[in-house]
Symmetry: C2
Subunit: 231 residues, 2 copies
């Protein structure tokens, strides 16, 4: 991978016209999706909490690092609850055998940004030398009886605020979609709030159909516990 | 279990008043939920097709017995896609060691009906001597990051027409809810069409909250295949 070109100094109106470098990379951001492991639980816990804050749903947030650790990573990736971590770095990613799971070799893309990103929480979300966790997606298999095929359901997809509107969410969602195709699955599904116009526009641009007629029913809390002694 | 009382012959206005038997069972229907196995695939395939007809969605129906067999029953019950079969009989269920899975011992209830049920498809759905398949529910684990707990998602719940409005759907849904409680899970969720007022009323009576703000996004067919070469 070529080293990024240094930023150009401020230029007067050029005469003769300035010769641009062949590959003008101003502020490269190296971005990677990889499978999460138990080591990522502290980051995942903080990300889920940020999502609860963003959705004004902190009163429903009851996850702890311990409860996440005990309920996640208990099965093979893609067979049950699975998490892709989104990591960023301003330098190329190091050779990283620790994260090289043969079921999903990490995918790296380079984003060329107009401006460098100021991440006020870089230290909190550091996941290695110069690497920072920027988001995650949690998904698991679902099943379509009409297709007689599994698919994936995306429970959460989240990118931290300073990394939004740059294509990183698209990278996370695409990673899940590609994995579904690779496994011969029939569908990828997720939910969106009906007033979240920006998200709906984004998902439609990704090729998704937003289904207007279906409503989700949820049985939880005391209403669920009431079935303890049924039958 | 007491043998059912024979139906009473037509009576003139009684004088002195007729003495009712202590336990007047007119038309008992024995109903059982049990774990499905590969042996049930022919019944399951027919039930899914009936569901497609009911929903006017036969153009989306692509399941075959072979594709169902190869994608279902590949994991422990409750860890992945799981099916409860709903069976009925006019006589008590026989001792049935074949279906006695320790993970879910069959649950039997007796429904006392005003009239016996005429099942025009009893032969098609026969699953053993005098036993008839009346419906099914297919569900699998989902996950709530806020609760840091798994739950169940119900993909399909279906009762054949002649057995509807008798409490059998409630029995199927309750069986899944009870199993969720037993496993310490946090939620049971499923979907309903917004115009299906009867179903919504039924689900609310079961304790479910119908969430009005969420929409399902679906990526399928060519829109999904487009991600094959991404990244």
């Amino acid at each position: 991978m070529a080293a990024p070109a240094p930023p150009l100094p401020p230029q007067p109106t050029p005469d003769p016209p300035m010769t641009l470098p062949e590959n003008p990379i101003g502020n490269p951001l190296f971005v990677r999706t990889r499978l999460a492991s138990k080591d990522d639980v502290p980051s995942i816990h903080k990300l889920i909490h940020q999502m609860a804050v963003f959705e004004h749903l902190t009163h429903l947030f009851a996850a702890t690092e311990a409860s996440l650790s005990s309920t996640l990573f208990n099965a093979e990736p893609f067979q049950s609850f699975t998490i892709f971590i989104l990591e960023v770095s301003t330098r190329p990613f190091p050779e990283d055998h620790h994260h090289h799971n043969p079921l999903y070799p990490p995918v790296v893309r380079i984003f060329n940004l107009d401006l460098p990103i100021a991440d006020p929480e870089a230290e909190t979300f550091e996941s290695g030398e110069g690497l920072v966790v920027a988001g995650f997606v949690l998904f698991f298999p679902n099943y379509s009886t009409f297709l007689a095929k599994p698919g994936f359901y995306i429970e959460d997809i989240f990118v931290r605020e300073c990394y939004r509107r740059k294509g990183l969410g698209k990278m996370l969602l695409s990673a899940v979609a590609k994995q579904a195709v690779k496994m011969g699955y029939g569908r990828v599904e997720w939910c969106v709030l009906d007033w979240n116009i920006n998200a709906i526009k984004f998902y439609e641009e990704m090729g998704a159909n937003v289904m207007q007629e279906w409503r989700i029913c949820r049985l939880t809390g005391e209403s669920l516990q009431a079935y303890e002694n049924w039958g």
